[in-house]
């Protein structure tokens, strides 16, 4: 799941300062699950901003709407009626949703209400941990199912480095050494020999700009 955190409200207040009527758009996908951008948080942020602006003698009208997923155009179409009424949008979706909703309504300014943090797992209520960086070239088969790109602070493909002390990373005592975790798991499943295998450098070159993914077998010809 994509994990995001709420942006400091003073930043959001700056963004919407010139506007009198704003839509706060929530998303029922990842940001609802990570308790940052669902209907509840939309209501809380709206109330907070209304009060802040009221206090400054510059009242603002805020519409609230939450739809299924802001990373799908069909769901974004549902915001039309409200978008037409407002001067700007604050989206509480992830970075993808914010941009994609903005693309749907190009003449209305759109602002981020959250900071998108990571692809993570929900460890317990209110706790998330990063597990994947979407590198696009998965090596989990070689590393005992533990991602070195994410779990090693240096994203080393062949570790550990000298900063690994008693299973802890030198970066922080709260960060376990990713390569120690890999070593322990490989030894548990009897695949320690994989530690000897040199994993070649990944191709990080993004000469073609943002990544796209097309499956010819699924694309639809609507002509």
């Amino acid at each position: 799941m994509i994990v995001a955190e709420g942006k400091p409200v003073e930043k959001i207040l700056e963004m919407v300062a010139p506007f009198k009527k704003v839509l706060i758009a929530g998303c029922r996908g990842c940001v609802t699950v990570c308790l940052t951008g669902g209907e509840k948080e939309v209501g809380i942020l709206a109330s907070q901003i209304r009060m802040a602006r009221s206090k400054d003698g510059n009242p603002i009208e805020i519409l609230e709407q939450t739809e299924e997923r802001q990373c799908d155009v069909e769901y974004n179409a549902k915001f039309l009626e409200n978008v037409e009424q407002v001067d700007a949008i604050v989206s509480l979706a992830c970075g993808i949703g914010i941009q994609y909703l903005g693309e749907k309504y190009p003449s209305t300014p759109i602002f981020p209400g959250v900071n998108t943090l990571m692809l993570g797992a929900n460890i317990d209520v209110g706790k998330w941990e990063e597990r994947c960086m979407a590198c696009g070239d998965c090596v989990l088969d070689k590393t005992g199912g533990i991602c070195p790109i994410t779990r090693c602070s240096k994203s080393l493909l062949n570790g550990p480095c000298g900063g690994s002390q008693n299973g802890v990373c030198e970066v922080s005592k709260d960060v376990p050494c990713g390569w120690q975790l890999i070593y322990d798991r490989l030894s548990e499943i009897g695949q320690l020999d994989k530690m000897r295998e040199i994993i070649p450098a990944k191709n990080w070159l993004r000469a073609k700009g943002p990544r796209t993914y097309v499956r010819e077998d699924l694309t639809l010809d609507r002509s």
């Binding site: 996908g29 308790l35 209501g43 009060m51």
Partner: protein, 634 residues
């Protein structure tokens, strides 16, 4: 929750002329008629009279009324009569409201009270009764005398399976009260069986702790109490001394066991029986009687104080101590056998079963939180019950009372069906992101994620609250990030309607503490509540961050949360969640410079004075911060 076809009947009762002395009811009627939505309204002299009741019954039919608002008084006699009438007419008791006008002295106040209740009646979800099929069978876990006693008592009403959790072990428990699916492991084979309720009766484990006796180890002359009880050796002509008070200082178990053993020894011809104690504890059942009897039969009771010394040889053991009342330095008791009391610790399987069953342990690692609401037999999960020393050493009458309580509780399932009002939260599947937040935050393990093609969301799944497991605290609704969960009678709509035009201070009050304290406080200082609006919630865990903000947005100057004392929440951690939400809401206010406007108060139902002190403090806080500059004027 959308509710359709609401047809409200309003009866303005003059209470035999009492009301019209202060309030002109025809003016009230005209005012209500001009603005409110309802189906039927009329005045009556004494609406609770028999003839009137018949008339009301006919009107319910004639106008197809399905909700009633009785304005006049809320005398228990009258409320009972109307609820009976409603039941006859198939109107849920949750759709009948009463307004007491005895303290109201103006048309405006009466109209405002009526409009407020009318608004809530409009927003109220339909609450029916569900009849559920349940398994009458009860699983008793434990092998001692306590387990046997409770199993025998339950078996008079319904089937019981008793397992020891050794030869037959509980591996997994799934499902909800009325139909727990228990996976049992027996002789390497797994069996699945359905049980309506589960009773834990593991007993407690005696444990000798040498440190309590100056490092003395047990040997053939020095025995622990449990060793002594287990051996059926003859002590005829022998001298036996018991030592009490060093271990198991808090319960009566050792005292009771020693008195019984002492009497038994005397009967069987022991030459001398001494009971050496520091404080004699006889405050239960027949213990004092047994103590008197033991004295009569010649058992010696010797009081010691502080330091002592124990020695043993192959021929006997001695206990040397200071007698607190006699002017001598040391007294020595020599006996053939010295028997030492032991501590009681939780049975070995306690922690394992707590994890399997998702129930909490408390002081000393025994089952059950140290929380008065769970006494005597309840866990945090409905129909998973404790009996006997597995939740702290108990004895005698206490045990029998617990067994009685357990029998009464599980008998609800004896007939194979159970009827419950559908008061559990409702989930709007369209808004449910199946995020598991409610599932994880539920203190009662009452929520499941259910897949159903009918569910109108991308997962075809949604959370569902089990009506027998759910205890209606509303913690889940307060957590839901998608606002998919609504608790009947306390939906967001109903609560936000209540605070639409708030008083200066809005106080969200738990019905188990703060609300009751407010009622008491009103009698102590009625004037103080002039600017205070109490909003009743089933548990402070229902108080949402948005409720706190909205009260201020709508115009209140301050908000209070009146919650149960720490470790004393009826719903385990509702008050802790409330405190966390208060912290967040206050941080949100600080971020936009609205100041310190939220007060979190632990209060008990009987703390009217503390309640008033807290209100005064809040008023002072507001006086210092000034009126709320964030209120949004429409």
């Amino acid at each position: 929750m959308t509710i359709t076809n609401i047809r409200i009947g309003i009866y303005l009762c003059d209470c035999d002329g009492k009301v019209s002395k202060k309030v002109d009811l025809s003016k009230v009627k005209t005012a209500i008629q001009s603005q409110a939505e309802f189906e039927y309204i009329r005045e009556a002299d004494v609406v609770c009279g028999t003839a009137e009741q018949e008339k009301v019954a006919a009107e319910i039919d004639k106008y197809s009324l399905n909700r009633l608002l009785i304005v006049g008084c809320n005398d228990p006699f009258i409320t009972r009569k109307f609820l009976q009438l409603a039941e006859e007419k198939d109107i849920s008791r949750y759709n009948v409201e009463f307004i007491d006008l005895s303290a109201v002295d103006s048309v405006e106040a009466a109209v405002s009270a009526i409009n407020s209740t009318l608004g809530k009646l409009h927003l109220r979800a339909e609450i029916g009764y569900e009849e559920l099929a349940v398994t009458p069978d009860v699983l008793v876990i434990g092998s001692g005398s306590e387990a046997a006693a409770v199993a025998k008592a339950i078996s008079k009403n319904q089937p019981v399976v008793q397992i020891d959790h050794e030869t037959t072990r509980v591996v997994e428990v799934d499902g909800f009260p009325g139909s727990f699916t228990v996976r049992l492991l027996e002789n390497g084979k797994t069996i699945k069986q359905s049980f309506g309720a589960i009773v834990l009766a593991l007993g407690a484990q005696p444990q000798y702790d040498a440190n309590k006796y100056g490092g003395v180890n047990l040997d053939e002359r020095i025995l622990s109490l449990s060793q002594f009880i287990k051996t059926d050796k003859s002590y005829t002509g022998k001298k036996v001394a018991f030592v009490l008070g060093k271990a198991d200082a808090d319960s009566l178990l050792s005292f009771a066991a020693v008195l019984k053993a002492a009497l038994d020894l005397k009967d069987k011809g022991a030459s001398e029986v001494d009971v050496i104690y520091d404080d004699m504890k006889v405050c239960a059942d027949n213990l004092e009687q047994e103590y008197e009897l033991a004295r009569k039969k010649g058992v010696n009771f010797l009081k010691y104080d502080g330091e002592f010394q124990i020695n043993s040889t192959s021929a006997g053991a001695t206990f040397q101590y200071r007698e607190p009342f006699l002017p001598i330095d040391a007294t020595r008791v020599a006996a053939d056998y010295l028997v030492l009391a032991e501590d009681f610790v939780p049975a070995a399987a306690t922690q394992e079963l707590a994890e399997i069953l998702d129930i909490r342990t408390g002081p000393g690692g025994f089952f059950q939180k140290d929380n008065v609401h769970f006494l005597p037999i309840k866990s945090n999960r409905a129909y998973i019950l404790f009996v006997g020393s597995c939740h702290g050493p108990i004895h005698g009458t206490d045990l029998y009372n617990e067994i009685e309580a357990v029998v009464a509780e599980v008998s609800a399932f004896a007939k194979g069906k159970a009827q419950v009002p559908s008061l559990q939260p409702r989930v709007e599947a369209k808004k449910c992101a199946v995020c598991l937040t409610c599932y994880r935050c539920c203190p009662h393990h009452a929520i499941e994620i259910v897949h159903d093609a009918e569910y109108d969301n991308m997962y075809n799944s949604a959370a569902r609250m089990n009506p027998l497991a759910c205890q209606r605290c509303g913690v889940c609704a307060g957590e839901c990030p998608g606002k998919a969960i609504q608790l009947p009678l306390y939906s967001d709509q109903e609560i936000l309607f209540e605070i639409k035009q708030p008083a200066k201070i809005v106080a969200y009050a738990c019905e188990n503490s703060g609300y009751l304290a407010s009622e008491f406080a009103k009698t102590l200082d009625p004037q103080l509540q002039k600017d205070l609006q109490i909003v009743e919630v089933p548990c402070s865990g229902k108080i949402d961050v948005i409720y706190l903000l909205k009260a201020l947005e709508y115009g209140a100057d301050g908000v209070m949360l009146l919650v149960c004392h720490k470790e004393n929440c009826k719903y385990v951690w509702g008050n802790n969640r409330a405190e966390q939400r208060k912290e967040r809401a206050q941080a949100l206010l600080n971020q936009v410079g609205l100041g310190d406007r939220i007060e979190f108060v632990h209060v008990a139902a009987n703390q009217g004075n503390q309640f008033n002190a807290a209100v005064k403090e809040m008023a002072e806080k507001i006086r210092q911060s000034g009126t709320n500059p964030g209120k949004v004027v429409k």
